[in-house]
Every structure is written in structure tokens, then in C-alpha cells.
Amino acid sequence: MTLSHLATEDVFVVERNDADFRAGQGMTKGLGIVFRKFRKALFGKPNSDRADTEGQFNVQYPEERLVLPEAYRNMPILLYDDATGHELCTSCFQCERICPPQVIHITQAKDPATGKPVPAAANFVLEYDTCMSCGYCAEVCPFDAIKMDHDFELSTGNHPELDVNYDRLLRPISYYEAIAPTMWSDVKEQAMKKLQNNIKRRPGAIGRDHGQKVKGGAAVAVAATPVAGAAPAAAAKPRGPVAAIGKNMPEEKVAKLISIRAANAAKRGGGDAGAAPVAEAAPIVETVVDTPAASAAPSGPVAAIGQNMSEDKRAKLEAIRAAKRAQRGE
């Protein structure tokens, strides 16, 4: 039976020409072609022209290097303005939320005088070993603070060093402009405009950028120098599915975070005994747990909510969700 949706003229049978008599011509033809390639490669110039199929094609890596295209993405880096020394990152947590392997950990800076949060990052830890360079953080960042680097020679012997913290992530804008000129020129003026009004909202000597670095002076040493002295005082890195906790976070914040995580694990342990089928998934969503402390996202289909969101914002989100469900008439 011929099962074929296709009109006959669309199909052609590959000819096997079993019958014809081959007295070694097939092999000699093959040998001839390989010899021609050999001659062209031996005497021909090494070539990388895309239209050509002869001559040597490989590049002697350490000496000669291929030019990386602008859009090339390896590991993310953060940008700071050469002139004012201010970082573009305002710790808005967008990148932390979108990151598929959840490798970004940001802590918001606080105004030392008033204690209120300020649009700047106190610490920004990125686990280079788990990051898969998908480029989502760069796409999603509203302030063009995080961009994808072109440096792929990152192999290192000591593993903790791959939890890259704020100082080693920062690069001057001139560095990024050099490696991706057109991409930066597209977003340049709106990034600079946002930076200006962010600086206005950063009162006085706030955040880590003032004073730490001479303005526009020595850029952060690019070489991955291990962070001197700040041994990971906090609890050993819980390696399981829970994202690692940054080394430089103040102790009590780490303790609070661990307690929340423990609660989640207990909650989740009980919660997903029976994976509810679609029909009655809705009721689980209904009984959203009220207290923010145990606000672990129920293991059901609701997206994971960032741990660091302020309480009122979380309540507002629940309200919107409830309204949506009511409107949908479950």
C-alpha cells in the first residue's frame, strides 16, 4: 500500500544502479578525488573563503584567532560608566527572575543613613560554572547594565573562584563598546539617560562605587583575581537544587534566607505528594498561602516568585491573580 500524500511529480526514487558493472572504477574515482584534494591542500594557500572547498581550512589557534561576531555571547558582564564610575545596574532583579538556571544572586544596596533601599546593587554574584550563556539577562535588562562578554578562555583550576562576585563582573563601557560597537550604539543614549536619573536617585556616598574606585581611573582588574580575604564565612554552599548563597552577604541575612529555604523544603516535601491533574489544579492555586514568610511557591504550575520581593508587592500580585481567576470563572 503506498501511503503518500504527495503528488507523484513531487517524489523521485533514488537510483541505486545495482545492475551496472563496476570493475573498480568507483574506487579509482574516489582515489582520484582524494589525490586532487591532497594536491590542492599541499600546494594551495590556507584559505577560509566560504565559497571554496579546497585548501587547508584550519586556524592555528593560539597564534591566529577567528574574529568573533558582535552577537557572540559567552559569559555575562556588568557595565559601569567610565566617566562617572557609576554602575548601570539598579538591582531590579529582572535578570535574576528570567535566568533559566537561576544563577544570578543580587542584594540591593541600602542608603547607609536612612536604611531605605537604593537603585544600586550591594553585591551581584553570578555562578559562571552553571551559567549556560543563553543571553536572556542581557535581553531582559531594562538598564542595559548586563551584557554578554566575548572572552571564552575562562578555564580555571579552583572551583569556588567561578562564583564571580561584583568586582570581577564589572567592565567599563569602553570595553563593551570595543567588542560590540553597533549593538552598544543602538542602546547608548537611552542607557545613558536612565543612568543619569539613577545617579540622581542615589544620594551622596551610596553604594559601593563611590570612593572604592578612582573615578574613571583604574578599571577593575579583569584578571580573575580571587577575592582577597573574604572567605565564605556563611554556611557551606548547599549544592542541591537550591541556588548557592553569595559569599559576601551579611551573616544575619544568610541565616534568615536559610531558615526560609528550610521551611520551603519542608513545605514542598508535603506539598507535591500527588501531582494534581489539570482539572483540580485550580483549587491549589486558590488556597494561596497568606503569610509571606511561608510564601514558598506551591509546587504546582504557578511560576516561582523571586524570594526578595517586598511584602506589599507580593500581596498586590496575589490580588491580581485572584481577580484574573474570578474573571475566568473557575
Partner: protein
């Protein structure tokens, strides 16, 4: 006189020619193979569970890791599934770009797949390295346009990440000048070589009825004589605007699959030529602006979208419950289903043929184990 009893041999997970981590428990009587039990799962990465935890957009880079030779095709299939689920329409230019990327990916996949099979046969990788050279050229262009060579993460819901500019088009035209020479060299090298004929003809025969029974798809099915190609049977993404043919085998042995793949490369070349001519200009936009990628919410319901990947019918089945991530996410991987026919295809042949037959099915373990 000479009593031969059956021998259990493990063509083990780390054997040089098992295309990734895959084990075959082979029972052999003398030289002929009596029974073969495939064992896989070594590369299982919990892909479908991840699909349920991640939001739709977060899941896109993970689809690159399914069939890591054709990440463009995987992205395209996943994007189509979410687009049908969420009812997003894709601008013309983006569909053309996606078709160009799929056909380029088909050429590089067949070039390397045939190279690996010939390497298993003992041809010392000459064909493979010529195939790799063409693949490198194509990967450079993927890198230019998507940012990475193999893990492209190029499609978004309603279009693509970045538009292709005229540097890409000129390079594509240059590549198109070189490809016919490569096809001729490849065919001249081995197509009629007596030893290849001796090793490939009438080996691993999969008759038409059995191919349908096993629901194999792609070059394996077409090699057995069934003319079924999704680009023709259910045209998606502007494929109905191109004139191209579907190659079909007669006997369904290793040699037929080899011929079908080479013919398919030439057909993809024709599609690329037509796609470059008909490419709409940039005003059409390369992505549908109205779609909020991060927080895309799909209405409750289910959708199944399928694409003719170089290995067969690659399908994504999504069930949504209205939230930001899928409730059930299932991948119909062509390699997994084609592999199920391996055991019966190899019965009666010798051990040396098993490796060649496996090469002719062209599997990638990332897709099989998910």
C-alpha cells in the same frame, strides 16, 4: 564437531561508534546476530520536567540541548508549538529566516551523519572531515546571527531574536557557490566504491510495512519507500511556496538511506536558493512586536506542532493551564522512535553490520534520552 554456543557481547556505552552514550546487549551465534537489546538513558536530563517548572521563554535554551546538531530546528519546532498554543502569528520575514536556518541545519546534519556512518565503516573520517568543513562554515553564520555555534537559542515566540543583515546574505550566497562542489566530491568519493556497496547494500533492510508499523519517520522511512515528508504533507512556515522533491528509496537498506540523505541535501540546496530570492525586505519586521516574551501567558488548552527535522518528525506537545509555564510538556523525538526499529533491523546480520546500521539510522542521544 565444532559446537558453537551463543555469546553475549556488550557493545558498551563507551564504544567508539555508538554516537554518544548508548549500549547494545548483543547475543551472537558464531558470526550472525541473533538478538539485540538496546539500553539507553545514560543522557537523561529531566528535560520534560524542567519544561513544566520553567516559563515558556525560559525553556527555549533547553530545547537546543535536545538534538544538539540541529538546535535551530528544535527552537523552530518549540516556538511553533507555543505560537499555536498562544495564538501568536509570525511575520513573513521571520518565517523565511526560520526556513533558511532549518535547511542549513539539514545540510550540516546530513553531511556529518553520513561522515560518522562512513567512519564506522572504516573510511577513516575523510568524508566526515569534508562534512565538518562545510558544517564549520554554516556554524560561523549561525554564530553571527544567533550568538552561539551550536546552542543558538535563536527563535522567540512570533519571530527570531535578531534580523539577518546583508553580511549574512552575501556570506550565504558565497556558501551556496561552494556547496555543489562539496556534494559532487562526496558522491564521487564513495557512492560507487565497491567496498561501500559490499558493506551497505542489502544490509539492515527495513521493509515498507515494518517501517510504518514502527512509525519511524524521516530519511529512515523514506529510505524504505514511503514518500512522507511533513514539509509536503502538512506544509508549515512558507514551505508551500518552494518547489522541491522528496527522495525515496526502494529496498530500505543502509545504501538507500545513504542515497536518500545525499539527495535531501541537494533538495535543501534548491530550497535555500528559492528562499534567498523570495526573502521579503526588512520592513516586514523579524518579530511580532505585540508579544511579551517573558511573561507570555497561554490560554488553558493543548497544542501539538511538528517540524521535519533532519532526523524525522520532531513534535512538541504542550498542555497549558493558563499560567506562564506549561502544565505538560512532551517532546516527540524522532531518534527515539527510529531507534526502536534497530533491534529487528539487525537480526541475522554480523556484528560489523550492527554498527553500520546504527550509523544509518543517525541517532543523537540527547534527543533519545531527553
Amino acid at each position: 564437531m565444532l559446537k558453537t554456543e551463543e555469546l553475549q557481547i556488550n557493545i558498551g556505552p563507551q564504544h567508539p561508534s555508538t554516537h554518544g552514550v548508548f549500549r547494545m546487549l548483543v547475543t551472537v551465534d558464531g558470526e550472525t546476530l541473533v538478538d539485540l537489546k538496546p539500553v539507553f538513558g545514560y543522557l537523561h536530563r529531566n528535560h520534560e520536567q524542567l519544561g513544566e517548572v520553567n516559563t515558556y521563554l525560559q525553556n527555549m535554551p533547553f530545547t537546543d540541548r535536545l538534538d544538539y546538531f540541529n538546535s535551530m530546528v528544535n527552537n523552530h519546532a518549540y516556538a511553533r508549538a507555543v505560537e499555536t498554543l498562544a495564538g501568536v502569528e509570525v511575520p513573513e520575514r521571520a518565517q523565511y529566516i526560520r526556513v533558511i536556518m532549518d535547511e542549513l541545519s539539514r545540510i550540516l546534519n546530513h553531511a556529518t551523519a553520513m561522515g560518522f556512518m562512513l567512519g564506522d565503516m572504516g573510511a577513516w573520517q575523510t568524508a566526515l572531515l569534508w562534512g565538518m568543513r562545510e558544517r564549520e562554515k554554516i556554524l560561523d553564520m549561525f554564530e553571527y546571527v544567533s550568538g552561539a555555534r551550536m546552542m543558538c537559542n535563536y527563535c522567540r515566540f512570533g519571530g527570531v531574536v535578531r534580523d539577518i543583515d546583508d553580511w549574512f546574505i552575501t556570506e550565504l550566497k558565497k556558501l551556496m557557490q561552494g556547496l555543489p562542489h562539496y556534494f559532487d566530491d562526496f558522491e564521487g568519493l564513495l557512492l560507487n566504491s565497491e567496498i561501500l556497496l559490499a558493506r551497505a547494500r542489502n544490509i539492515g533492510v527495513l521493509p515498507k510495512e515494518l517501517a510504518l508499523a514502527y512509525s519511524v519517520t524521516g530519511p529512515v522511512l523514506r529510505g524504505s519507500g514511503v514518500a512522507y515528508d511533513i514539509r509536503k504533507a502538512e506544509p508549515y512556515a512558507v514551505y508551500d511556496r518552494f518547489k522541491f522533491k522528496v527522495p525515496v528509496g526502494t529496498v530500505g537498506d543502509v545504501y538507500d538511506r545513504f542515497l536518500v540523505r545525499i539527495a535531501e541535501m541537494r533538495e535543501s540546496y534548491k530550497i535555500l536558493e528559492q528562499a534567498i530570492e523570495q526573502l521579503p525586505d526588512a520592513t516586514g519586521g523579524f518579530i511580532n512586536p505585540k508579544v511579551k516574551q517573558q511573561s507570555l501567558k497561554a490560554p488553558a488548552g493543548e497544542a501539538y506542532a511538528r517540524v521535519e527535522s533532519p532526523k524525522g518528525e520532531l513534535g512538541f506537545y504542550l498542555v497549558s493551564d493558563g499560567s506562564g509555564s506549561a502544565y505538560r510538556y512532551k517532546v516527540r523525538a524522532p531518534s527515539f522512535i527510529n531507534l526502536s526499529s534497530l533491534a529487528d533491523m539487525c537480526k541475522g546480520y554480523s556484528i560489523a553490520d550492527v554498527v553500520v546500521i546504527l550509523g544509518s539510522i543517525d541517532i543523537v542521544m540527547g534527543e533519545v534520552d531527553r
